[in-house]
């Protein structure tokens, strides 16, 4: 945790993040998109996708992430700004001349063609020789573990198999960039997790750049090199999954990625990287890491992960120690989700690991809880 306290603002996080992998394959420059000429769906987007990177656009519906993907594919035009692919502006290049592979939400396999014909289609368009087409289709199907399915129709395949064919079709013509628009949304949970690893491994093996859109944060955390969290048409934070989870830069990201306890209050003492915050309604004073506070006396939201709260800590281990009362215990196997009332809030969640010898709590019990200064991040109000 020691190095965390040296991080202060978003700028050096971004600097680290954008240095990934070297040169950019895609660049958005001050891109704006409006459908009706009034409301901006995408606001001043600056974004670079690095060569070989798996970048996820994550956000709630209506946050602009899909619009960004559609502008990259060429199905939507940017109202303002420039989009560059390998350094060339592509604002006026139609989708079929961009040479980008794409996997669609509903797979969009051609139902009247066999699996082989589906995969051969992008190769026939590129006028490859027949033998070469057969070889490439065979290799693509082996890559997604569907060898021998050449003569099936999409309608005869299961959802997971159709998904794999769609991935193979997007990759078979060896594009440098592949877009995926919530491709796992229609699959059930187990299959979805299996496919996440499969796509991740394909990405690692081929070194192709991928831009992936999803609203599922665990999917984003599992697969990505970097995640751009979208809300309200803007990127709220662009960072690697661990950075995003452990060091959210604003209240939206903290709340959208993973579970999060929020405490609101006012900064009473700002001292470089740390600050003291007086909680509302006399809830007490909390020592926190000043990540995004406007200054002394400014309102702030404290963000604290439920698994970073210790029960009955050793004396002097943490600067923040409070009395709490156990309200509810929910047994979840690997951990026990514990709701306590603390600092005037009664929806404070603590994840108590179900480890050997760990304290077992009872409802109504009075306990002391504590957490480190670095784990409690003071964000925008």
């Amino acid at each position: 945790m020691g190095k965390d306290s040296t991080r202060q603002t978003g700028t050096d996080l971004d600097a680290k993040a954008t240095s990934y992998g070297g040169d950019a394959i895609v660049r958005f420059e001050r891109v704006q998109k409006s459908y009706d000429g009034v409301l901006l769906v995408v606001k001043d987007l600056d974004l670079e996708v690095q060569r070989g990177e798996f970048l996820t656009l994550l956000g709630p519906s209506g946050s602009g992430k899909t619009t960004v993907l559609m502008m990259l594919a060429g199905f939507e035009t940017a109202t303002h700004g420039g989009i560059f692919l390998k350094g060339e502006p592509i604002n006026n290049v139609p989708p079929h001349k961009r040479g980008i592979g794409m996997v669609f939400q509903n797979y969009a396999l051609f139902p009247h063609m066999t699996v082989f014909e589906n995969l051969a289609f992008p190769l026939e368009v590129r006028r490859l020789a027949k033998g070469e087409i057969q070889e490439k289709v065979r290799r693509a199907l082996e890559m997604v573990r569907l060898g021998g399915f050449e003569n099936r129709r999409p309608g005869q395949l299961s959802g997971g198999q159709q998904q794999r064919v769609a991935v193979a079709r997007a990759l078979v013509f060896e594009p440098d960039l592949v877009l995926m628009d919530e491709p796992l949304g229609a699959l059930d949970k187990n299959l979805r997790e299996e496919m996440q690893y499969e796509i991740k491994h394909i990405h690692e093996n081929l070194g192709v750049s991928m831009v992936y859109v999803t609203h599922d944060q665990s999917e984003a955390l599992t697969m990505s090199n970097r995640i751009a969290v979208f809300n309200d048409g803007r990127i709220q934070q662009l960072a690697a999954p661990d950075d995003l989870y452990e060091r959210p830069e604003n209240a939206f990201v903290a709340q959208f990625i993973g579970e999060n306890n929020r405490l609101s209050g006012r900064v009473s003492h700002l001292d470089g990287t740390s600050c003291a915050v007086d909680l509302d309604d006399g809830g007490g004073r909390v020592q926190a890491l000043a990540v995004k506070v406007a200054g002394d006396r400014a309102r702030t939201t404290l963000s604290l992960r439920p698994e970073r709260v210790a029960i009955n800590p050793e004396e002097g281990a943490f600067p923040n120690v409070f009395e709490a009362r156990v309200q509810e215990l929910i047994y979840l196997g690997d951990h026990i989700r514990t709701r306590v009332s603390l600092c005037g809030k009664d929806d404070f969640i603590i994840k108590v690991p179900n480890a050997q010898g760990h304290a077992m709590l009872r409802e109504g019990e009075q306990v002391r809880v504590g957490w480190a200064l670095e784990d409690c991040r003071a964000l925008d109000a």
């Binding site: 594919a73 199905f75 079929h96 001349k97 040479g99 794409m102 509903n106 051609f110 009247h112 368009v125």
Partner: protein, 293 residues
């Protein structure tokens, strides 16, 4: 057939059988006039009624003489049918081709959400189905008459083909539009992302999937043109006969049972076309992975 549930009361039972009877009567009313024609066309006598011999199933009372007369190629006897049949087939084929191409394109355009005035244009395109035929025919006649100093459209092959195209297009627009409702537009995007030009995507992806709709629309357009008499009466001429017009003339002037033979052939052709439509519909549903109902 609908079967009665075990808990049906006496009133429900009575209504059930009355309902079946009504259905049978309606079918009979619709089909009987067509079925009567079939045996009559084999009449050995020049009458439009069943002779006593026919009713007693005497083989002597039946003959193929009207069919022979229909296809009589002896140059000494005038046979207007021999001109009318190829005329009708050519007109129907050409107007079907035009109506199918234009109607499919119109339906594709009208199915796009960004198309302005969709309902208005759709209404205009299908209006020939709704406006009484006699009004359309008269309108076309006067319109052609105006144009006659530039192009001889009245009484000509092209004039009738164009008029029949107008009548056939609504069927194509409607069937193709219906097919496009179930068409997944993301397939077009997928085709484009594979690198295919929009034209290639149309021929390789869109057209094969909407083809059943296109073909059934084309069949309707064909039948419309093949059966059509009102427009031909206005726009056609004595020298330019079609089958329906020849039948019309046959009934009014000569009352020859040849038209019964023609009618029988037309019924057979129409039935085959309708069977083709149904087969196509089922094929289409299979291709989309829907089990036929």
């Amino acid at each position: 057939m609908i079967s009665l549930p075990p808990h049906a009361g006496p009133l429900e039972r009575i209504w059930h059988y009355v309902f079946l009877l009504i259905c049978v009567l309606v079918f009979g009313f619709l089909i009987a006039p067509l079925l009567v024609i079939l045996p009559l066309s084999f009449n050995a006598e020049p009458y439009f009624t069943f002779t006593e011999g026919m009713l007693s199933l005497d083989p002597e009372a039946y003959s193929l003489r009207w069919y022979e007369a229909l296809f009589d190629t002896n140059p000494n006897r005038e046979n207007k049918w021999l001109e009318a049949i190829p005329n009708s087939l050519w007109i129907a084929a050409c107007s079907t081709l035009l109506a199918t191409a234009l109607g499919t394109l119109a339906a594709l355009g009208l199915s796009r959400s960004e198309m302005p005035f969709r309902n208005l244009i759709m209404g205009l395109l299908i209006s020939p189905m709704i406006v009484p035929l006699i009004i359309t025919a008269a309108g076309i006649f006067f319109f052609y008459a105006r144009l006659n100093e530039y192009a001889e459209l009245t009484g000509s092959f092209i004039g009738i083909v164009l008029a029949h195209t107008v009548l056939g297009t609504p069927f194509v627009v409607i069937t193709v539009t219906a097919t496009l409702i179930g068409f997944d537009q993301s397939l077009v995007r997928a085709g484009l992302m594979c690198g295919a030009t929009p034209t290639r995507v149309f021929f390789k992806v869109v057209l094969p999937l909407i083809l059943p709709g296109v073909i059934s629309g084309a069949l309707f357009a064909f039948v419309t043109s093949f059966d059509e008499i009102v427009v031909v009466l206005f726009v056609g001429s004595v020298e330019y006969q079609t089958i329906p017009r020849q039948m019309w003339a046959g009934i009014r002037e000569e009352i020859s049972p040849i038209i019964l033979a023609v009618a029988t052939l037309l019924i057979c052709v129409s039935t085959l076309l309708m069977i083709a439509v149904e087969v196509l519909r089922r094929y289409n549903e299979r291709q989309r992975g829907v089990t036929p109902g």
